[in-house]
């Protein structure tokens, strides 16, 4: 009888620990999704070239008051770290997926503007892709095409 009770207590404790762990990791994931991270690019130029007289690069300036911006020296003479993040609420869950597919996640516009700013400042122009020769995705090309759409102009750099 004592053994049975001991086993029940042990199993109960294990169950509680697993539940707690799962709950914690889910909470962490939720908190991460709610957090509005800075999107940052490193530009191979000095800060005064990135923001002459404090002016934002044109692609970022177009986003107006909807974003906050930070600029700092990159370590090791790597130029300037230019960061931005949207003021808007970040969608989560299904809403996030739909926003990304529709290109309406505010982080996508920020990411694109940062990338274009970097290209403009470093090369003098925003590089454009070729005009596509075809538009309809093939069945095999679909999963990556969806991945590309979901990325929606964001990148990690």
């Amino acid at each position: 009888m004592k053994r049975g009770a001991l086993a029940a207590v042990t199993l109960g404790a294990l169950g509680a620990a697993v539940t707690h762990r799962l709950w914690s990791s889910r909470e962490r994931a939720r908190a991460e999704r709610r957090r509005i991270r800075w999107q940052v690019v490193t530009i191979n130029r000095r800060p005064e070239e990135v923001m002459p007289e404090g002016r934002l690069p044109e692609p970022l300036a177009r986003l107006g008051e909807s974003i906050e911006v930070q600029v700092r020296d990159a370590p090791g003479g790597r130029g300037t770290e230019l960061g931005a993040r949207p003021h808007a609420r970040i969608p989560s869950g299904v809403e996030e997926v739909m926003a990304r597919l529709g290109g309406e996640d505010p982080r996508q516009a920020v990411r694109r503007a940062l990338r274009e700013s970097k290209c403009l400042i470093e090369t003098g122009e925003v590089l454009r892709a070729d005009e596509p020769a075809a538009r309809r995705p093939a069945p095999i090309g679909r999963p990556p095409a969806v991945a590309a759409r979901r990325a929606g102009g964001e990148e990690r750099r």
């Binding site: 003098g124 538009r135 095999i140 090309g141 999963p143």
Partner: protein, 391 residues
């Protein structure tokens, strides 16, 4: 214009597509006179690549004549005969300034998917329109060349066009493997794969001072070609235990530098096992690492292994412990052509680097689907099929 388009897994056709036009000030339009097949296209053709859609123009190794330039182009003008680096680089980002051109931070206008998959984006490239920047390929009558001052190189008068063609991709890729693999005078170098890249990696190793270069393949005509045109020793891996053979030839040490120039398509001696084949159909699958594994095993302790094959999938069963235990350096890169092409053209001009023999099948663009079939199956001794869009 006419262009070779991907129509579905294993299906190519020559179609009419809109002419390219200048979209950025630093663009040039090049009229393509020669373009070549490449082993890295094969994964794309099978529909296994990161992103390919019907109508995409493929091909990334080409040579031609400048017919139009944007107002920001300084080094080229219409009429220039140029070879174009397959990798696109801006020349002004941190990586380009340090001659790591295939890591250019500005030549991929729509990064994201690749960054999510690999944890970082790389340069744009011709002929992988939905995976590497959205640039059409070179198997076409015309190609738009972004950052033309950086990526197009005037071909010197003394260099034959069929040699210069391979300065676009195969030769700089081979050079990248030998150079970044750390080949030094007196080294023994082993190269897996006697295709165009493997042969030119072997030649690069010799030109960088390697005392002995050994190339490994199974196709007799490729082995003979490597001996005859490159001057390397060869091993037929179907008739020999390669690591044992290499140890025997190198006093028991193993090669100082091992270059893998095989890739996922040619690496497996048999067909992929079923689960791997299924996974490849639905997403990033299991790549075959036969050559890389063998290189890691054969390499001398403290040596260097360089991966040139374009592996798009994931690979398990990799002998990671050997890297640590043997103190190896494992490295890989797409080619940093803008760094090497001027030197390669100079070597071609002096006759020290030849590549024209790789063009085993020269045909019109209309015949390109057949050319790819020959190239894929290696029938008729095909090493590279080369197309003349204006023939």
């Amino acid at each position: 214009m006419k262009a070779l388009c991907w129509r579905g897994p294993g299906e190519l056709s020559v179609d009419r597509v809109p002419d390219p036009r200048i979209l950025n000030d630093q663009d040039a339009i090049v009229k393509v006179t020669l373009s070549a097949t490449c082993g890295s296209d094969l994964d794309l053709l099978g529909g296994h690549g990161p992103a390919v859609r019907p109508g995409d123009v493929i091909g990334h190794e080409f040579l031609g004549e400048v017919v139009e330039v944007g107002q920001g182009v300084r080094r080229h003008r219409p009429g220039d005969r140029v070879v174009v680096c397959s990798v696109i680089g801006c020349g002004r980002c941190w990586h380009c300034e340090r001659d790591m051109w295939s890591l250019c931070e500005n030549s991929h206008p729509g990064p994201g998917a690749s960054g999510d998959r690999w944890g970082g984006d790389t340069a744009g490239m011709f002929g992988y329109p939905h995976a590497m920047g959205g640039f059409r390929g070179g198997h076409a009558e015309y190609v738009r060349v972004p950052f033309a001052d950086q990526g197009a190189f005037r071909v010197p008068d003394g260099v034959a066009e069929m040699d210069a063609l391979f300065a676009s991709d195969a030769a700089p890729t081979g050079w990248t493997g030998a150079h970044l693999g750390g080949v030094r005078p007196g080294d023994t170098v082993a190269v897996w794969g006697c295709g165009a890249v493997g042969q030119l990696a072997a030649r690069a190793a010799m030109l960088l001072g390697a005392e002995r270069v050994i190339a490994i393949d199974r196709h007799p005509e490729r082995l003979m070609m490597t001996e005859r045109h490159i001057g390397a020793e060869t091993i037929d891996y179907t008739r020999s235990d390669v690591p044992a053979d290499l140890r025997e030839r190198t006093g028991g040490r193993g090669p100082d530098v091992c270059v893998e120039a095989v890739g996922p398509e040619g690496a497996a001696t048999g067909r992929p096992r079923l689960p791997g084949r299924i996974r490849r159909r639905i997403g990033p699958g299991a790549d075959h690492l036969v050559a890389v594994r063998e290189a890691v095993r054969a390499c001398r302790t403290g040596g260097s292994v360089f991966v040139l094959g374009v592996f798009a999938g994931l690979a398990d069963r990799f002998p990671l412990g050997m890297i640590m235990d043997k103190g190896l350096t494992l490295r890989g890169a797409r080619q940093h052509g803008q760094h090497y092409i001027p030197r390669l053209l100079e070597l071609m001009g002096k006759g020290e680097l030849r590549a024209a023999h790789l063009a085993t099948h020269v045909m019109t663009l209309q015949e390109a689907p057949r050319g790819y079939e020959l190239f894929r199956t290696r029938r008729d001794g095909c090493v590279r099929a080369v197309f003349r869009p204006w023939a």
